[in-house]
Amino acid sequence: MNNIESLKSYFSSEIVLILGLVVLIFLSLRRGHSDHKSMSPASSVVSVVTLFLAITAALSVNFTESQPLFHGMIALDPFGQFFKILIMGTTLVTVVFCTCSRDLENTPGPEFMAFLMALCLGLNVMCVSNNMLMMYLAVEMASLVSYIMAGYMTENKRSEEAGLKYVLYGGLASGVMIFGMSLLYGLTGSLDLVSIRQVVINNPPDQLILFLTFIMILTGLGYKMAIAPFHMWSPDVYEGAPLPVTAFLSVASKAAGFALTLRFLFVAFVATEVEGTWSAVSAIDWQMLVAVLSAVTMTVGNVLALQQLNIKRFLAYSSIAHAGYMLMAVAAQSGGGLEGVVFYFMVYFLMNLGAFLVAGVILNQRHTEDMRDYKGLVRQGASGLFLALTLSVFLFSLTGIPPFAGFIGKWYVFKAVINAGLLWLAVIGALNSVISLYFYVRLIKFMLVDSAEKNDTIERVPLRFASLISIFAALTLVFGLYFAPLVKWTQASVVMFR
């Protein structure tokens, strides 16, 4: 479809985001706007309205059929739409999170919101790119803005370190990726994923070079998904970045990375589909590769999470482990596996953001990221009880214990893996879940069983946080028992343009 037609009805949520970005930049130029003000109400309101409009626009797109837009640059399909809505939802929560966060006090507010919109736009484009040029550009757009946001607390050494480390890793990863892309272009003569598949199937290029190319591109994508062995940056960046940014990166950035990887794998490198099961192109058997990556990722994430006492690092390693579980479903190479990833992301959104929100409240009041300071939380007033119980819900769900939503997510993933005949991977996944039980439950024990060194009560939780946390906790419980609507949406969302 040509540019004007694509712009008219299908690109509206992106246009809304760009307009919001421009308004926010003008807000920051207002006369009398002081640097020392933290998040100003006007900028948060503008961001929230922008995101609402953008989500409505994305929801209102009707799919008669999936089709390419902008001369094949991006693809219009339910798969992309799902991830776009997930990312914009995360951004919405992050905006609310930012409005009262200790980390972001004394930093320029409207600019921060503008970056958030730009990041959201970049991630949105990542989910729908169907062309290697767009893929690279979207990754670069998302990364550049994330670097800025990770180092946003300019007075804080750790935040600066996080920003710089992120830049160095990101620069290298995207350099390797674009080198790989240039080689793939040389091999196939096309930037378009659909045409690449035609070439790879019909006249397979040199196998060794194709494989190296594939690995190179996977390096860049793996860095975005934060999977082992490309995960090194994430604990340090997650620890140093402002807490709302960490929460955002761990959900939205990862989701976009997965969307892009899935599209890359399932559009350019699958050969045939038989009853919902795909087979990889004969030149590259990526099933085994992804399976091994997934096993390594979850093991690294879970084993390293065992020793963490800083809540941000702890959640960083836990998010690496969860990327491993999701990758397991990718390795299944089936419609069921795709559904597993999509479903897992929905529950991951709830439980991970929920955990971060609770950590944010405690950071605001106690000025601590150390998990030992969570001891006896349950006995520290009504707010303490509320925080301890909701965080326990999120942690149990992250472990994957019924009746919480996390269990259903894991169940879908494991089902897909076993159906694909990758029993060894399922066993490793199960062992990893057992390991993860230890460190999640340790934090729960800190909060519920241990007693605090000094007993001061937690003050009232701000209404915005309290309502978000209770909604997330309630949904985590509800979706653990009644998940039919999610399944329906999931099944509708795995349709991909190819």
Partner: protein
């Protein structure tokens, strides 16, 4: 003649890149970068990508390099910086780099590339680029502007000092 030109370009590019990487003096490194940029521009022009070659000259050699040299010259105590890990991983790096060079060399010298460029007319690429940018590649072209806007504001926000306002 062609081999001569190619080898001169190669030697200039890689030679100055080595100085950039290995020189202990940051000022030397910054100045050596000009050789690398010129070499790359030469490669582009040699490959008939005239527009890219010129952009390389104007943007990198003309703009970015000057900026880097300014930054290096204006930073005080630049030669007194202490290295926290002097040559820590050379043992691991050398074989890895060698492996990479062999691998890339093997890739690039194989005859597997689809596009045969020998029959291409030697004419400027600017017209074709301009047409493509405003038709097929309009979306990436426009998105780049948003990327640059965000990056620019980001650089300003990150680097500015807090101005003490009078209460």
């Amino acid at each position: 003649m062609e081999t001569f030109i190619v080898s001169v370009i190669f030697i200039v590019t890689v030679g100055s890149a080595c100085i950039v990487a290995f020189s202990n003096n940051l000022v030397y490194s910054a100045f050596a970068l000009i050789g690398t940029f010129l070499g790359v521009a030469g490669t582009f022009i040699y490959l008939n990508a005239t527009f890219l070659g010129l952009v390389q000259l104007v943007v990198y050699a003309g703009g970015i390099l000057v900026l880097i040299i300014f930054a290096v010259m204006l930073t005080s105590k630049i030669n007194e910086s202490s290295r926290s890990n002097p040559g820590a991983n050379y043992k691991a790096v050398v074989p890895l780099v060698l492996l990479l060079v062999l691998l890339v060399g093997r890739i690039l010298t194989r005859d597997v590339w689809t596009k045969d460029l020998s029959g291409m007319a030697h004419e400027p690429t600017i017209t074709a680029l301009g047409n493509l940018l405003l038709t097929d590649y309009l979306l990436p072209f426009e998105l780049v502007s948003v990327v640059l806007l965000a990056a620019m504001i980001g650089a300003a926000v990150i680097s500015r000092r807090k101005v003490k306002t009078q209460e």
